[in-house]
């Protein structure tokens, strides 16, 4: 048998606890490949969020700290200050980053912390069973917006890349998706860019990845991919929002 692409060395052989069709697994794989390619596993400190990615330490073979819900940017800020020569990766979901942890991410970005952020936007709170997130689309039904999200009373979904782009100290912001092979490849390139920026000392860099949560959305894995294509990308346009070299 010809092995075309082997399992990244930085990823453990543990089978993930993610649901079938979940985007976290694909993103994990892309992160593993980038870690291997850049050779940063041994200098890396990963902050795991509260949300479905909390047990990242079971899957990535590196130093990991599990953070309180939303607080990873504050935790990572301190780690990077203590070890400026190490590589700090912040991984957060949309509930984690855009709801409870909105202050922490805005201020870490505003301080221009030289950190790499992977922001997984699945438009819901996956781990707690599919409640409304700040990124939930208008009309999208969740367990806490059973008739669909309305602007009145619930506000519009927050576009995080656009928001952070207003802060002058952010250096790289890109929104990608993992709904197709083409977009997965683009996501991989963005992850590498966000990693490389920190290694080059450029500063705060983030990739927002539109990701599937079939279980939270209560649809099949195939329908979840369609939801990203037909709905999410319309509201959350893909592309580079900031690129300061």
């Amino acid at each position: 048998m010809n092995i075309i692409k082997a399992q990244p060395k930085s990823i453990t052989t543990e089978s993930t606890k993610y649901c079938p069709g979940c985007g976290h697994g694909i993103i994990l794989r892309l992160i593993g490949e980038a870690i291997d390619e850049l050779g940063i596993r041994e200098k890396m400190i990963l902050t795991a969020p509260v949300g479905c990615a909390v047990v990242l330490y079971d899957y990535i073979f590196c130093d990991v700290v599990e953070c309180a819900h939303g607080r990873a940017p504050a935790v990572g800020t301190a780690i990077k200050r203590v070890h400026p020569d190490k590589f700090v990766l912040i991984y957060q979901g949309d509930g984690d980053l855009a709801a409870i942890g909105m202050a922490e991410i805005i201020h870490a970005a505003n301080r221009g912390e030289n950190m790499s952020v992977i922001f997984v936007n699945n438009a819901t709170y996956g781990m707690t069973g599919g409640q409304m997130a700040p990124t939930t689309l208008i009309g999208q039904k969740t367990t806490t917006s059973p008739s669909g999200r309305t602007i009145k009373g619930m506000g519009k979904p927050i576009r995080v890349c656009e928001l952070l782009a207003t802060l002058e100290e952010t250096k790289y912001l890109e929104r990608t998706s993992i709904n197709s092979v083409r977009n997965i490849n683009k996501t991989k390139a963005a992850i590498r860019k966000v990693f490389q920026n920190q290694l080059n000392g450029i500063g705060f860099s983030m990739v927002e990845i539109l990701s599937m949560c079939p279980v939270g959305w209560k649809v099949s894995p195939v329908e979840a991919i369609q939801f990203i294509e037909e709905q999410m990308i319309n509201y959350f346009p893909l592309g580079v929002y900031k690129n300061v070299e």
Binding site: I45, C62, V65, V75, V82
Partner: protein, 369 residues
């Protein structure tokens, strides 16, 4: 000026504020990072450290909130650094989430609480109403923090140094619990070089430094698997807390032999009480003072001993709160003295008792002896 034989550094008699003494002690004790958010009456600590840490090439960061500050403490500690934060009551409430995580992850750090009146915004005057919050855990879950309560600037300075050592030794958060009076007080003290409490501290082989040449380290507080994981974790924490209870109980006893009345007070209140007690002593009354210096672990055995030595003694608990430490006194003495022998004088307005007020309170009790 005297020179320390071991370090060659000088001990200087200096005059500064309590909040500044804590900051200087932290620097001397090797604190690498300090994260905080301004709040009265502790703001002199971040102001002082913003200048001093820059001079010493250390890490100072004014966080966007107390929530962020304590999570920065969490991160710096996980990365292996000596780290401190300070705040006052409403800020400490915000930090409780992080403190629970730090205790759960068994990370060392020093937290200074310059207590002010509450609940809510309360006021900015001295208070002791955070006794429950700091000695009972404060945040969610089964945990404890060591709580050191200085009553003068020398102790602010010394106990802050001790706090770093105790935090590293037991791998847990250690509180310096002062209050608006102690924090704002200006008095002279001996600024001596760092005096380590232990010959050797455990190595931080759990710290996050990148896993080059070793297995990855994980700092975590989640115990989903195996089913007994959290139970085991909490049992281990309990063992550690029991060890601390047997090893670390600090108190001061003053005139506690042959006393008719013993006042129990800590922090600023103990100094006020002492003035009143001395005045009574001068008039020939046998009044003593029992002062806990560790609020957790509470000096239980020491108080029982004092009660047993002084048969028929009345206790007067004085607090700038409405009877929080009183509960520890009652629990400690319930099998030793009757409840009617334990009297209470408390203030809840974010204001301190006066020596005259305490004097009068003791006189009332003495009349009925």
């Amino acid at each position: 000026m005297a020179e320390d034989k071991n370090t060659g550094l000088e001990t200087k008699r200096v005059l500064m504020k309590g909040n500044e003494a804590v900051g200087e002690a932290a620097i001397k004790a090797g604190c690498l990072c300090y994260f905080a958010y301004p709040i009265t009456p502790q703001t002199e600590t971040p102001e002082y450290l913003s200048r001093r840490m820059e001079e010493e090439n250390l890490i100072f960061l004014q966080a966007e909130s107390e929530v962020a500050a304590i999570n920065m403490v969490f991160g710096a500690s996980a990365a292996g650094a000596r780290v401190m934060t300070s705040s006052s009551s409403p800020g400490i409430s915000l930090k409780q989430e992080g403190i629970s995580y730090i205790a759960g992850a068994e990370l060392p750090c020093v937290i200074v609480n310059v207590v002010r009146g509450g609940p809510g915004l309360g006021n900015i005057e001295a208070s002791q109403a955070d006794y429950f919050q700091s000695t009972r855990g404060g945040g969610h879950g089964d945990y404890r923090c060591i709580v050191l309560a200085p009553n003068c600037l020398q102790e602010c300075y010394d106990m802050t140094m001790n706090a770093f050592d105790l935090a590293d030794y037991y791998r847990m958060p250690v509180f310096i619990q002062s209050d608006g009076i102690i924090g704002q007080l200006v008095e002279p003290f001996d600024m001596h070089p760092y005096k380590p409490m232990f010959d050797k501290l455990p190595t931080k082989n759990w710290a996050l430094t990148g896993c080059a040449g070793r297995k990855p380290n994980v700092v975590r507080t989640l115990y989903l698997n195996p089913p007994n994981g959290l139970e085991m974790h909490n049992r281990n924490l309990e063992k550690k807390y029991n060890k601390i209870k047997s090893e670390l109980r600090w108190c001061e006893t003053y005139n506690c032999d042959n006393a008719d009345i013993i006042v129990i007070a800590y922090g600023a209140t103990s100094r006020i009480a002492k003035s009143a007690i001395k005045k009574h002593n001068d008039n020939g009354l046998k009044i003593g003072l029992f002062r806990p210096k560790t609020l957790w672990p509470w000096p239980e055995a020491e108080l029982v001993e004092v009660a047993q030595k002084n048969k028929g003694v009345k206790f007067l608990v004085i607090e700038m709160s409405m009877g929080q430490m009183l509960e520890d006194v009652l629990l400690t003495l319930m099998d030793v003295v009757t409840k009617k022998d334990i009297l209470f004088y408390g203030m809840g307005g974010g204001w301190n008792p006066t020596p005259d007020g305490v004097y009068a309170e003791i006189s009332e009790i003495a009349k009925k002896l």
